[in-house]
């Protein structure tokens, strides 16, 4: 029966992983705009992405990360 300790420990860890994923998704801004992405995905060509992927190499995350650091 002592396997119960291991199993419960594992289950809490799995749940913790989900919590971590959730917190990450909030932190990266997935909950900031809950409408526009649903429209954007319907456009035929990915708008602005072509240039943004090429940009993100030189640019890092600077423009989106903290918009209020002037």
């Amino acid at each position: 029966m002592s396997v119960l300790f291991v199993l419960i420990g594992a289950s809490v860890l799995v749940a913790g992983a989900f919590l971590f994923a959730f917190i990450r998704s909030v932190r990266t801004g997935q909950y900031d705009d809950q409408y526009t992405p649903s429209v954007r995905m319907l456009f035929d060509e990915p708008s602005g992405i072509a240039s943004s992927t090429q940009q993100s190499k030189t640019n890092g995350e600077a423009p989106t990360a903290e918009p209020n650091n002037h």
Partner: protein, 813 residues
């Protein structure tokens, strides 16, 4: 495609507005104005016609697009422009614009493809609900000014007023709610699972090593709930207590603390399983309630004052050269240059040029005021026509209009929620609960000291007013949301409660009872035939004068003829030849020389002369909103009514007929007069609802118990208020009030329901034998039934009361 082609015959291909005789065409598509045509040209040249494929007529009317000329010049040299930029590394810069014109998926598409229009734009990201565009650009290849001009030319002028940028700078305020909720849910789920064996009395638990293990784990899991997720309740209760108010969070915090302490004691003394499951579920449910209550309309601001109505910078003439300075640093004696369509930010004397100030938004006066050099111009007017030079005589904060904001009404702090029903109940509630707990403890104390402590804590645990605390967020929050669906946007849930207690309704006239912008045009004189009318309209369209624009918009005719020998005489009128007729329109003396003035019109008038003879005049009266009569009828008897108008008393007769004789009606009211009138009513003990629209109502809106602002376009500026009502549903304000009253009854019923649950719980608690299972079942069940009851009841209430109000489209919510 065929649909678009046939529609093109009557509506502008770009903005979908009625062509009204316009003959502008390009690529076989018709346009209502040059502005719309220009946008189409830009887009089609850059292979961006997809814009028109996503939605039919997606554009906004492009008439304003022509005014771009000098509008953004201040961005070139102003320090303010530097502050607008959020991030820059010398090469790449980012900025967030408020773009009120965003309204459909085409807009998102176009703005996010802005890089196709200019190589300097790196990327654009639109937040539709906030009406924001986040632009990354290279300053070396496109300056901020050019970027703004580009946006303006394609029909998406950025909103660069003072208030709009600070608002754009705080996007993450909602995030902590999600963190709290996520943590609470994680802990709640795990504690629940670990508590199941206890509920079912599983034999294995007799082996105390498991029982202790589960207990310790529960204790660990409850720590983040107590320390992080529920910290807002602690904070709110503490700030309430410090200002001498026992708010609803006090009994909640009491319950949570007792629950945690008793559970910890049970776990560590191995005497029981504790109530950690109940604790976590309570916090989780109440957080949902708070999140629900905190519904905000991202793109609407209820706090705007004159600062966000005025521009950020103004052009000042110093030693013969033009420079831009922030509006706040204007000093007495400065000489300003005010261009067409620009706002005058401070009281000034007109030095040079012909002023034609549109004060409609500020004073409620509907006709533009013509002024000549030497006359005083008041702040807040919008210049129509050519540029003028003025000299400032009073600083911005001391101007006629802005002095209003020095009134005490604007400094009054937000009151605590003691006035809300939940707030009033919570004080009594807390003391009654404490009394019962103490009573139970005393009763058992002599016979069984252990039981006495149990009873005391159990009472505090079971009465933790979770159900009570979520009744009000769910009832009022749900009503708030449903009102939003019916185009009534209230600031917060407290406004719903305030509306229920209103007994006096005060209206502003111009822009509130009447339709703003769209005045009725009435012809007085000899009948004009269609050819003559078309000639008059063609001439009016050429003129920049606001009355000409109104004349053009307010009349109907056939195809407009071309105009030759057009001439504009400032301060008098315009003339030109069309259809072989020599047409003059403007002042009486100009339209037909030698003409003796007949009865002077109280409203604005444009006189028409054709081939030298006066044919008559167009009168511009106020057009009252549809359903105004019904609205007044419905409110009469139930509420005390009143009218405060900034306008002259030209329409006093109509208003008395509408409202009856015994009603408070005042004309020529300055903004400060309106505020004083509302205050006077309140001193008589009345609860006043003010319904207004402009800056001139700002004082009254603020002073009143509830201030609603009527707006034809809710994305436009509206003064600080408690709620914004789309003009489309103006007629349904009585239904709104009715529904708010019914909402109060729903609230009372749900309070009653949660008291019932409390009494059942108390029955177990005072006997000192509250089992964790009873608590774990009773608490969530009571909360869930309250949620169901309030949601369903408030839904039926609002949707039935406002059943014939038009729904907002999904994107407008």
């Amino acid at each position: 495609m065929e649909i678009a082609e046939t529609a093109a015959a009557t509506a502008c291909y770009h903005c979908g507005e009625d062509l009204k005789g316009s003959t502008l065409k390009l690529d076989n598509r018709a346009f209502c104005c040059e502005g719309c045509k220009t946008v189409y040209e830009i887009l089609s040249q850059n292979n961006m016609a997809d814009y028109y494929r996503l939605n039919a007529n997606p554009g906004k009317n492009g008439k304003d697009a022509e005014t771009v000329r000098e509008k953004y010049a201040w961005l070139d040299d102003s320090q303010l422009a530097r502050e607008l930029i959020q991030f820059t590394d010398g090469d790449i810069s980012t900025i967030t614009f408020q773009v009120p014109a965003i309204h459909c998926s085409s807009c998102i598409w176009l703005l996010e493809n802005l890089w196709k229009l200019h190589p300097g734009v790196v990327r654009t990201q639109v937040n539709f609900l906030r009406r924001e565009a986040h632009v990354t650009f290279r300053e070396k290849s496109i300056s901020l000014r050019q970027l703004c001009e580009l946006l303006h030319r394609i029909g998406y002028p950025p909103d660069l007023r003072a208030g709009s940028t600070t608002q754009a700078a705080q996007p993450h305020t909602q995030r902590h709610w999600f963190y709290r909720l996520g943590v609470a849910f994680f802990c709640f789920g795990n504690i629940m699972l670990l508590s199941f064996p206890e509920y079912f009395g599983v034999d294995a638990l007799a082996e105390s090593e498991y029982r202790n293990f589960f207990g310790y784990l529960n204790f660990l899991l409850s720590l983040p709930v107590l320390l992080y997720s529920s910290s807002i309740f602690f904070r709110s209760a503490w700030s309430g207590l410090r200002s001498g108010v026992v708010n609803m969070d006090v009994p909640i915090v009491l319950g949570i603390l007792v629950m945690f302490l008793r559970s910890s004691w049970e776990i560590f003394s191995h005497t029981g399983a504790g109530y950690m499951d109940t604790l976590a579920s309570l916090v989780f449910l109440m957080l949902i309630g708070r999140l629900f209550q905190n519904k905000t309309y991202d793109r609407l601001s209820f706090e705007r004052d004159y600062k966000s109505y005025f521009p950020m910078a103004v052009t000042i003439l110093r030693h013969g050269s033009e420079t831009s300075i922030p509006v706040a640093s204007i000093r007495k004696g400065d000489r300003l240059l005010i261009r067409s369509e620009e706002l005058l930010p401070a009281d000034s004397i007109l030095m040079q040029g012909q002023a034609c100030m549109d004060y409609s938004f500020v004073t409620g006066e509907s006709a533009p005021a013509e002024k000549v050099a030497g006359e005083i111009l008041y702040a807040g007017g919008r210049q129509k026509g050519s540029a003028i030079e003025v000299e400032v005589i009073r600083e911005v904060s001391q101007s006629y209009l802005t002095r209003l904001w020095n009134d005490a009404a604007f400094r009054k702090a937000e009151t605590h929620d003691v006035t809300s029903m939940a707030g009033r109940i919570s004080k009594t509630f807390t003391f009654v609960v404490l009394a019962i707990a103490a009573g139970a403890a005393l009763y058992w104390f002599s016979s069984d000291a252990h039981r006495s402590l149990n009873a005391f804590t159990a009472v505090l645990i079971i009465t933790c007013p979770c159900a009570l605390a979520i009744s009000s967020p769910f009832t009022l929050g749900n009503m708030l949301r449903l009102f939003g669906r019916k185009r009534i946007y209230l600031k917060n849930t407290a406004v719903v409660e305030t509306l229920a207690g209103i007994d006096t309704v005060i209206f502003d006239k111009t822009g509130t009872m009447t339709q703003s912008g769209d005045t009725g045009v009435q012809w007085e004189g000899d009948e004009l035939n269609d050819e003559e009318l078309a000639a008059v309209r063609a001439l009016a369209r050429q003129s920049g004068h606001p009355l000409s624009q109104k004349l053009y918009a307010g009349t109907q005719s056939g195809v407009l003829p071309g105009i030759t020998s057009f001439a504009e005489h400032t301060g008098k009128g315009v003339q030109g030849v069309a259809n072989g007729l020599n047409v003059k329109l403007g002042a009486a003396s100009f339209a037909a020389p030698g003409y003796a003035t007949q009865a002077e019109a109280k409203t604005a008038a444009v006189y028409i002369g054709i081939n030298g003879t006066l044919r008559g005049r167009f009168l511009f009266g106020n057009r009252y909103r549809n359903g105004l009569t019904d609205l007044v009828q419905e409110l009469r008897g139930k509420y005390t009514l009143g009218v405060l108008s900034g306008d002259n008393n030209a329409e006093a007769g109509y208003i008395t007929a509408l409202f009856g004789r015994d009603v408070l009606v005042r004309f020529n009211q300055s903004p400060a007069d309106k505020l004083a009138a509302v205050r006077e009513l309140q001193q008589q003990g009345r609860k006043v609802l003010m319904i207004g629209d402009g800056l001139n109502d700002a004082g009254a809106l603020k002073q009143s118990d509830a201030g609603l602002s009527i707006s034809d376009d809710i994305n436009n500026f509206s003064p600080a208020c408690d709620g914004i009502v789309d003009a489309l549903v103006f007629r349904h304000i009585p239904a709104l009030l009715h529904s708010a009253r019914k909402g109060r009854r729903i609230l009372m019923a749900s309070f009653g329901l949660s008291f019932l649950y409390n009494i059942v719980g108390l029955w177990f608690a005072v006997q000192g034998n509250l089992s964790p299972l009873v608590a774990a079942v009773l608490m969530p069940v009571s909360s869930v039934t309250i949620i169901l009851f309030t949601t369903i009841a408030s839904r039926i209430n609002v949707l039935r009361s406002l059943s014939d109000a038009p729904d907002a489209t999904s994107v407008e919510q």
